[in-house]
């Protein structure tokens, strides 16, 4: 298993030490704040030069607000809000008709969607992309990548969203790019199922094992909202959740563990048990972000959104004009080349 896991994109690009994960988050957050700050300043400058009457871009900030005083989201804020929105995915799914829920949004689809959200915000900031639309985009994409395709029209029909499908198509490419187009996710579910089959052959108590397995899936579900997917192999997470489930049911797994692992060298075993303990702690300590906290962060987020992503901001209008200018220049160039070509043709007949 280990050997195969090292061949996956999950191991190559999305698997870190705790320190590395922290470093990635800190650096990415710092540069995001810096970038959004620059845009805010630019927006404020542009707004100053815009006449107060006539066609006027919607102002994102109160004109009296000093951009230098805007409070940007902290890394912890973003993590907490990300956590809140991740937990909304199962709720979003529950809005669909029973039949679609059952046939299309399997555990695997939901787990991939949740993981996509987590990976997305490892490389992006909510000040650029609000999680409300991102979670829906991730669910739409995960249904595709897990061979459970659900048409976009259904999303728009069953979800309380004002966004058009074009918005989701644009975001889909942005999400896909942020995931580096690496859509395959190895979840602990399959490993847990393998363990379940194996335990049945080793241990006698088939009924209890079934209960343990069902219970372990609840812990796997919980683990999806934590960082375990970045830090541990799916098979290790599965083993840890099975162990937690067994403990809760007062079932002693020692005999199974000793049969399976006692031939392994001691250091290897110690390191495995240490990892299992760590995973257990992370899962046990996990607390979902409460609604009032999410609301409070969301309110602050509204004041520090990157104006560049708002199509009605002054900065967006300027960018649009610049792009059009470039395209005009491009077209002009093409036209010139064409004209010259026509001229050269005429010259042939002279």
């Amino acid at each position: 298993m280990k050997e195969l896991f090292t061949e996956t994109s999950q191991y190559r690009n999305w698997f870190y030490s705790k320190e590395k994960l922290q470093e990635i988050r800190e650096k990415n957050h710092a540069s995001a704040v810096e970038r959004v700050k620059q845009r805010m300043l630019e927006e404020a400058e542009l707004q100053k030069s815009i006449p107060t009457r006539g066609e006027q871009p919607e102002r994102i900030n109160s004109p009296r607000l000093n951009p230098a005083e805007i409070e940007y989201l902290k890394m912890e804020d973003e993590l907490a809000l990300c956590n809140y929105y991740q937990t909304q995915i199962p709720l979003v799914v529950s809005k669909f008709p029973e039949e679609i829920q059952k046939n299309k949004f399997t555990d695997k689809v939901k787990a991939s969607a949740i993981t996509y959200v987590k990976r997305f915000y490892l490389r992006n900031t909510m000040m650029d992309y609000h999680p409300r639309d991102i979670i829906i985009t991730c669910l739409f994409l995960a249904a595709k990548t897990e061979f459970s395709f659900v048409p976009i029209e259904d999303f728009i029909k069953f979800l309380p969203t004002k966004a058009t499908k074009e918005v989701f198509f644009d975001l889909e490419l942005i999400v896909a790019r942020s995931l580096r187009y690496e859509f395959t996710i190895h979840h602990p579910y399959l490993s847990a199922y393998g363990l379940f089959l194996d335990m049945q052959t080793v241990l006698k108590d088939a009924k209890t094992i079934q209960v343990i397995y069902e219970k372990s899936k609840e812990f796997i579900h919980k683990s999806l909202f934590t960082d375990t997917m970045f830090l541990y192999q799916p098979s290790q997470i599965a083993l840890a959740t099975v162990r937690i489930a067994a403990k809760e049911l007062n079932f002693n797994l020692n005999s199974y563990f000793s049969i399976k692992f006692n031939s392994e060298p001691k250091e290897k075993l110690d390191s495995l048990y240490k990892k299992l303990d760590e995973i257990e702690n992370i899962i046990k300590e996990y607390e979902p972000t409460p609604l009032n906290k999410a609301k409070e962060i969301d309110a602050r987020l509204h004041k520090c959104k990157n104006p560049e992503k708002n199509p009605n901001s002054a900065i967006s209008r300027k960018r649009k004009l610049e792009r059009e200018g470039l395209e005009d220049a491009d077209n002009h160039k093409k036209k010139k080349i064409e004209d010259e070509y026509q001229k050269s043709l005429e010259e042939v007949f002279k």
């Binding site: 061949e7 399997t106 994409l141 499908k165 942005i174 580096r180 690496e182 399959l190």
Partner: protein, 364 residues
């Protein structure tokens, strides 16, 4: 790839690495361009995925592109086409792929090329190695055929076109589409509309490719689905309950003529007994008894003399046509023409198009 780079910047950098040169093919879902990697001068194929309007309207990134990208991102093997990079530009997805000159279909069709037994063994070995890598990574190809086995200048064979591929190995996988694999290479179990099947469907296709290499003409070229099944039964004998447990249940609503089995040796006179034995094991009716890639690679056919030809010494086409290059990189290619003058070839193409036409868009 830097962990700290913003996704947009990273992608811009990728885009700037390549220079698009000229269009070399076009299909419903994609246009393929030849390009070069600026830094190295290496020739690449750039596959531009179109945003297509299906009967239910646009659905964002094309499904077959999602499938192909998902699979190729996980695969790294000398006998599987390399997906070098991906980027999007103005809502178009672009895949940068290895550029290869030729494919096994072109080689089989080119009657100026002579094959020897060691050559066939070499192509089979490379095909099975590539497929074994896919299966080991839980990926079903679902469209194995000579046209999708690309051959490079160095003779290396690479499996391409993963537009129908999907991952497998999930015990709870359901609702798998039976409408996969080009008809001539389609395993018999797929004609009975199963909602679940496995790696064995790819092995059947490889068996058909093996036979085609030996005969130099498609082995089981049926004109319709029903005719295809009839053709298989004619060639290999109508299966009995013993050959394929569960067959009578599958075929309960259909009537098939009872053909008796002719030994393969009769049709494949030039093939050695090891080759015949491997072919038989690949073209086994019962998917559970059909040989897998691992067993096939350990088969005596590959261990006994003659040794397989080293790839760089394999026979190849003297001249490859630019407009033919990498057209198999297109998922569905009804618009491609200029594939040579032979009427036979055209007929085959027409057949292929009608096969493709049957594919539904939202296959899972």
């Amino acid at each position: 790839m830097s962990t700290f780079q913003a996704p947009e910047e990273e992608e811009l950098q990728i885009e700037n690495k390549y220079l698009k040169e000229k269009k070399i093919g076009e299909g419903t879902y994609a246009k393929v361009y030849r390009g070069i990697e600026r830094a190295t001068g290496r020739t690449v194929a750039i596959k531009k995925i179109k945003l297509v309007q299906t009967e239910i309207g646009s659905q964002g990134i094309e499904l077959s592109a999602v499938r192909e990208v998902k699979c190729l991102r996980e695969l790294r093997h000398p006998n599987v086409i390399e997906l070098i990079d991906i980027y999007s530009h103005k809502s178009n997805l672009k895949l940068v792929l290895e550029y290869l000159d030729s494919d096994l279909e072109m080689i089989i069709k080119d009657k100026s090329i002579l094959f020897q037994a060691p050559d066939i063994k070499s192509w089979m070995l490379m095909t099975l190695r590539g497929l074994d890598h896919c299966h080991r990574n839980w990926i079903l190809h679902r469209d194995m055929k000579p046209n999708n086995l690309l051959v490079g200048k160095d003779g290396q064979l690479k499996i391409a076109d993963f537009g129908l591929a999907r991952d497998y190995g999930d015990p709870h996988a359901k609702n798998m589409s039976p409408q996969v694999v080009t008809r001539w290479y389609r395993a018999p179990e797929l004609f009975f509309m199963p909602s679940q099947y496995g790696y064995a469907v790819d092995i059947w296709s490889v068996g058909c490719i093996f036979a085609e290499l030996l005969l130099r003409t498609p082995y089981l070229a049926g004109e319709s689905d029903l005719a295809q099944l009839e053709l298989i039964f004619k060639a290999l004998g109508t299966p009995t309950e013993e050959d394929w447990p569960g067959f009578s249940e599958l075929a309960r609503d259909m009537k098939f003529q009872k053909y008796s089995r002719t030994p393969l040796q009769v049709h494949f006179k030039a093939a050695g007994s090891d080759a015949i034995d491997l072919l038989e094991k690949m073209l086994t009716y019962d998917p559970n008894k059909r040989i897998n890639t691992r067993e096939a690679l350990l088969h005596s056919y590959f261990r006994k003399l003659p040794r397989p030809t080293p790839p760089d010494q394999l026979p190849k086409q003297k001249k490859t046509q630019e407009n033919v290059i990498q057209q198999k990189e297109l998922n569905s290619k009804p618009t491609i023409q200029n594939r040579g003058e032979q009427t036979e070839h055209r007929k085959r193409k027409a057949q292929e198009i009608s096969n493709k036409g049957e594919k539904k868009i939202h296959r899972s």
